[in-house]
């Protein structure tokens, strides 16, 4: 059987009914990962993966029916799993072994998951192509000449290449949705606070979320119900009940109010995604949705707003990597100042350094009000605009990317071009709302891209319902 062709829900069924053992399934995916080493999607297969699978089989035999009992799952390299390496794809944390479990890993283990290994990413989640990894770039799962997107490029590629049924990522400015778009898979960034960030190495704390990749929207909905929930270890996690998202997928979109932003409609003109975007809106209308033409005047400023807030927080969050407590210490450092400066200069890659410098610039005295505070105020203005939009819309439709995946190396010399990759994804992070990318069309080279469904905070159910309809019906 080709297990990579099965959905997560089908796999769970097979495992629960004991038609398939976790050991068999896990070994199957390990073999596939080893067969597709050239993708460089997976940095490490944990040496106890088969042990974990055996343990899962034992539990299943004894009647355990955890929602992920025996399911092998890959996690992004910035999510902590106690006793396992977590390097954030940085040389600086090459040998860092997690001293505790992240909340998401705990939740998956509680449901019986097999944590199979860790996936490649842009160093400290800073990047849009997984080219900023200290362990080499990851390839696009469909076209090896192209990037998989980033920063969660390894996880997106792994799901598309059938190296696992589900993989976790993190999304700070589009780091799940953009690679989902480029690899033709489903990726969600949940509402800010929906999933606990405890045990996830922080890049930009106020806007990032853990999310996940699956092949289908339904799998995605199933999985998010497991990862969600407030945590006593994360003040910013939302202490509200977690719905069964799968049950919120109704199979029709009748009467759903779909927002179309004027600024987005203007921005897509001439892009690869233009036709698909307008076709999709037409399709939704024909199938019973009500299209609401609305606007967000400051939409265009989401990108610069992000590139102030995120580096500011990053500059502070990454201070703890100092060569003293856990990160690698420069061998030539002979005093404390040198430990700091040399270890960090040797340990961090170029993009990370650039963002730390930028962050310290916008926070430093004399610039704080003009940049950081200004961006925070702008964020608030955008939230007010969104509030208005969501008064008349259930969801908003946006492209995920401007087109299909770009070629490896084509944007590495131009940071601004790389930053503009996040044009359509950053809005959801700035607003803190849920956003999902669903495969929707093909570009001029025949490669996939996705469209985004956004909804107001905690309305993931609405997002899944619309996205599921698109995935099953659009283009058929």
């Amino acid at each position: 059987m080709k297990f990579e062709e099965l959905s997560l829900l089908e796999i769970v069924d097979l495992l629960h009914s004991q038609k398939l053992s976790s050991v068999e399934l896990t070994q199957y995916f390990i073999d596939r990962i080893n067969d597709r080493k050239e993708l460089n999607a997976v940095l490490e297969i944990y040496d106890d993966a088969i042990e974990q699978a055996k343990h899962a089989d034992e539990r299943i035999k004894n009647g355990f029916r955890g929602k992920l009992a025996g399911v092998p799952i890959l996690i992004k390299d910035n999510i902590l799993f106690k006793g396992k390496k977590a390097s954030c794809a940085s040389k600086f944390l090459e040998n860092y072994v997690a001293q505790y479990n992240s909340t998401v890993v705990d939740k998956m283990l509680a449901e019986g998951a097999v944590i199979l290994g860790r996936t490649n990413m842009d160093e400290f989640a800073m990047g849009s192509s997984t080219e900023n990894s200290a362990y080499g770039n990851t390839l696009n799962a469909i076209d090896p000449m192209r990037v998989p997107g980033g920063s969660s490029g390894g996880s997106a590629c792994a799901v598309r290449a059938g190296l696992c049924p589900v993989a976790l990522g993190t999304d700070t400015g589009g780091s799940i949705r953009q690679p989902a778009s480029y690899n033709g898979v489903v990726g969600i960034k949940p509402t800010y606070g929906r999933v606990s960030r405890y045990g996830v190495v922080a890049y930009a704390s106020s806007i990032e979320q853990v999310g996940l990749f699956t092949k289908t929207v339904k799998d995605n909905a199933y999985m998010l119900s497991i990862l969600s929930g407030g945590s006593q270890n994360d003040e910013t996690s939302l202490k509200v009940e977690v719905p069964d998202y799968l049950a919120q997928i109704k199979g029709n979109i009748k009467g759903i109010k779909v927002g179309v932003l004027k600024e987005v409609s203007d921005a897509v003109k001439g892009l690869d995604v233009e036709k698909t975007y307008f076709d999709l809106i037409e399709f939704l209308k024909e199938n019973g949705a009500e299209i609401v033409y609305t606007n967000m005047p400051h939409f265009a400023l989401t990108l610069p707003c992000y590139y102030i807030i995120a580096p500011a927080e990053a500059s502070s969050n990454l201070g703890r990597f100092d060569g003293i407590k856990y990160s690698r210490r420069s061998v030539t450092a002979s005093n404390v100042d040198e430990i700091y400066v040399k270890s960090r200069s040797e340990g961090f890659g170029k993009e990370v350094k650039r963002r730390i410098m930028l962050g310290n610039f916008v926070l430093s005295s004399g610039y704080f009000d003009a940049y950081y505070n200004k961006a925070k105020k702008l964020q608030q203005k955008l939230k007010k605009e969104a509030e208005e939009v969501f008064k008349s819309c259930d969801v908003i439709i946006l492209p995920t990317t401007t087109g299909e995946a770009f070629e490896i190396g084509s944007k590495t010399q131009d940071p601004i071009a790389m930053y503009k990759e996040d044009l359509f994804t950053i809005l959801a992070n700035i607003l803190g709302v849920p956003a999902l990318s669903v495969p929707c069309g093909k570009g001029s080279h025949g490669l996939p891209f996705g469209m985004q469904v956004l909804a107001d905070c905690l309305k993931e159910g609405q997002v899944y319902n619309v996205a599921d309809y698109i995935q099953r019906q659009y283009g058929r």
């Binding site: 060569g323 003293i324 960090r344 200069s345 410098m357 310290n360 430093s364 940049y371 105020k377």
Partner: protein, 97 residues
Amino acid sequence: MSKTKISIEEVRRLASLSALDFTEEELNSFIPEFEKILEFVDQVKNCDTDDVEIEYTSHKLATLREDEAKESSPQEEILMNSPKTKKGSFCVPKMLD
């Protein structure tokens, strides 16, 4: 709007705040790149935010964590990733007091 310019002294000051060191060559390529990024983020200045008050997400005092001491991590676990430890402590070359 005039472009935000950045001097080599300014970059050195930022590097010092960042605990980063750049070679002369790195610095020279850094400045034009950094100025381009600043030009990009300078767009936020086009937005009038005079009417916006910063709002904070908050929670009520009564809902905060109760003051109860719990078990800490074992010392060896705290120190396990450190490049240098001595006498149950993280260790750096002797600092001038």
